[in-house]
Every structure is written in C-alpha cells, then in structure tokens.
Symmetry: C2
Subunit: 210 residues, 2 copies
DNA sequence: GTCTATAATTGGATAGAC
DNA sequence: GTCTATCCAATTATAGAC
C-alpha cells in the first residue's frame, strides 16, 4: 500500500493466482489427461475465469508444459542412494526397492506416467524432461551404489550401468505395468513382498559369499 | 447378381467397407491417439464418408474399441513357448527373449501401448482386454517353460510364476520404458545384446551347474 | 449403402468493461 | 488483473437424396 493507493481493492497478487491456476491445472490434467481436460474445467477448478488463465499462460499447451515440468521436478526429489551402506547390500537394496516401488506406484506418479506416455507424439520434449528427472536419475543413484559395493567386494558386478538397469527392472516387475493399465493396486504387504523378491533374485545373480 | 438385379451398381459388399474403415481407423488412431484422431480424418483415410462410418460403428468410442480389440487379438498370436527345449535353457531363453523384445518394441505394439495407457481412465475395459491377450499370455507361456525346466533340473526355480514375471521384466529392461517415452529406438545389435544380458543375469540367479 | 450437406455442441482463445 | 460475454474453428453425429 503506497500513498498513491487508489482505494480500489487490490487484486490478488499475481503469483498467488498463477499458483492456484497451476494447481488446478495439475489436478485436472492428472485426472483427465490432456485431451479430455478443458480450459473451462481448469478455470472452474481454479475459481478464475478463462481470460485470466490466458493472462498467465498463452495456450493450453503451455499450461500443460508448465504442469509437467513442475511435476517432473518433484519426481525424484531427494531420491538419493548416497546414504546406503555398501557393507550391507541386502538391507540397503531392500530399503531402496521399497522406497522406489512406493514412489513408482503412487497415484500421482502413475497419472503423470500415463499422460506423458499418451502424449509423447504431441509433446516429445516433455517426455525427455521427465525421463531425465525421473528414471535416469534413479538409475544414476543406483549405479553409484553398485560401484561402491563392487569396489568393497560385497557385490560381484562387472557392468554397473547394466546392473542398475536390471535391478530397477526387477523391482518394477510386472506391478508397474499392471498398475499403469489400471489393474488393481497391490496392498502394502504385496509391495514389500515384491521388493523382497526382487532383491533376492538380484542377490542370487550378483551377491558374494561371505 | 440375381434375376431381380435392378441394374444399379451394386454397392461395395458391407464387410469390405467395414474392413477398410477398420483399417483406416487403426492407422489413424495408432498414429494420433484417440483424442487427436477425428472421424473426418478416418473417413478420408478410408475413402468413405462420415455417414458411412456411422452405419457400421455407432460412435467414435465403439470404433476405437473395435480397433483395440482386434489389435489385442493380434498381439501375441502364435507367441508360444511350447516348442522350446528345457534341455538347453540358455538357447531357449535367448531365442524367446529376442522374439519377445522385438515384438515389444515394434512400432505397432508401442503405439497401441501408448494409446491404451493414455486412455486407461476413459476405457478401462480395453486395458483389461489388452492385458489378457498380451502380457498375461506371455507370462503364462514362460511359466509353462519354467515348470518343465524346473522338473528337468535345468533351472533351479521354486516359484515359477514369480520367475516368469522376473524374466519378462529383465528382458523388457529399460528399453521398453525408454522407447515408450520416445527416446530413440535401439538398433538390431543393441536388441540382441539386451536379450543376451537379460538371459545371462537370469541364469546367474537360477541356472544349474552341469 | 453411400453420399453431400448440415445440425448441434464443444472448446480454445479474445475483446472490452471495470 | 480480473471478469463477462462472445467469437470462431473443429468435431461428433445425423437428415435426406440417390
């Protein structure tokens, strides 16, 4: 409020409005996909008019891009393997597998996976962004851990990059695909069992005898 | 041509027209997805009018369903593991992995995967159909082979169902996901290498010494 | 059965008042 | 900056002639 205040009610601060639009767009896109989500619906969800949407985002595509970019950012936030102990690979990998699987199967991540895969042809750049922020990041973390474990002699791995991909694939297993296809979410016990089974098989292949 | 032939040029036989519409719809949906494909475009591609489309399929959704159902049918046609030799697991699994991977990464299968995943929310039943005809069928074939190999003592597997899922996951690896996201198709040599690596790891875990 | 022409609706985007 | 009201293009679906 300055001395030149006109007395007219100050409109909502721009960033707040933009935030609420982004949040509404996020909910709407994730629930309906790009094609089925209308700007009308997003405006309604945001409690704003369509015209206001277009003040902040010049097109539906741009708004979608902003949503996906932000969600990609959040994907693997703080998903590190740096604090895992190469001395106890079974415990470390089990811990990692459980965290990874629960992240992967969380409703938000499944929804964003579906959207990006469904819109790859129209938005190839967004898929690339998501890949780098998500799967690739996880693989790099895993590979670092395997390099340390191989050096410590607790895992018998020659190609750490390959092993990281294979471990991630084992953990994803059928569950990820199955859930992408909308075929029933497993309960918590099933997730823990899946993680345990993946680790067991991986250790049968690459574990070292004590 | 009967004695009551009016002399008016006989219209194209219904099945032929329906076929050409289905084929055009298949190409259009697979190329653009459900939302971006218009009935106009499909009619043009089929060399028919929109009105004719609606004679055979009462809505866009129904036409889409017909396309997906047919493609699902073709998915794993003749994808059997019955002729694999449990006596030579390495050769058998390598053969299987190569076939499976090439099927999975073929442009048509990738396209249909993208569409179904992208439209799961709107068409959950189609996802179920595809799953049964595709991934589930492959898993069943694999499990049968593993049961035989376990009985023959050439593989050390307790849970054949679990092992089938794990083997399929290892073979898919990162390639499947990566290609779903549109990140470059691997060449033939890379595919063979991926198959070989998957088999090698699987055999490290479940192979038996001779 | 097949077409042309069109109805009816939806949805992205904008003009203009405040 | 925000809203209401509206424009306009695209799209699903159908009516009616042949």
């Amino acid at each position: 409020m300055s001395a030149t205040d006109t007395g007219i009610a100050a409109p909502t601060a721009p960033t707040v409005k933009a935030e609420s639009i982004l949040a509404a767009a996020r909910r709407t896109f994730l629930a309906s996909g790009f094609g089925a989500a209308s700007m009308d619906a997003i405006a309604r969800e945001a409690g704003a008019s369509k015209a206001t949407l277009y003040v902040y985002f010049s097109s539906k595509e741009e708004l979608f891009g902003a949503v996906i970019a932000r969600e990609s950012e959040r994907y693997a936030q703080g998903f590190s393997a740096g604090d895992l102990d190469p001395g106890d690979v079974e415990a470390s990998l089990t811990f990692f597998a459980n965290r990874f699987l629960r992240l992967l199967l969380s409703p938000d991540i499944i929804a964003i996976n579906r959207i990006i895969i469904g819109e790859v042809v129209r938005f190839p750049a967004l898929a690339e962004v998501f890949w780098q922020a998500g799967p690739e990041r996880v693989r790099v973390q895993l590979e670092g851990f395997f390099r340390r474990a191989a050096a410590a002699g607790t895992l018998d791995i020659a190609d750490t990059r390959l092993a990281a991909g294979q471990f991630a694939s084992l953990v994803r297993g059928e569950l990820h695909q199955q859930y992408l296809f909308g075929l029933g979410k497993p309960d918590d016990k099933a997730l823990s069992a899946a993680a345990k089974n993946a680790v067991a098989t991986f250790l049968r292949a690459f574990g070292t005898r004590k």
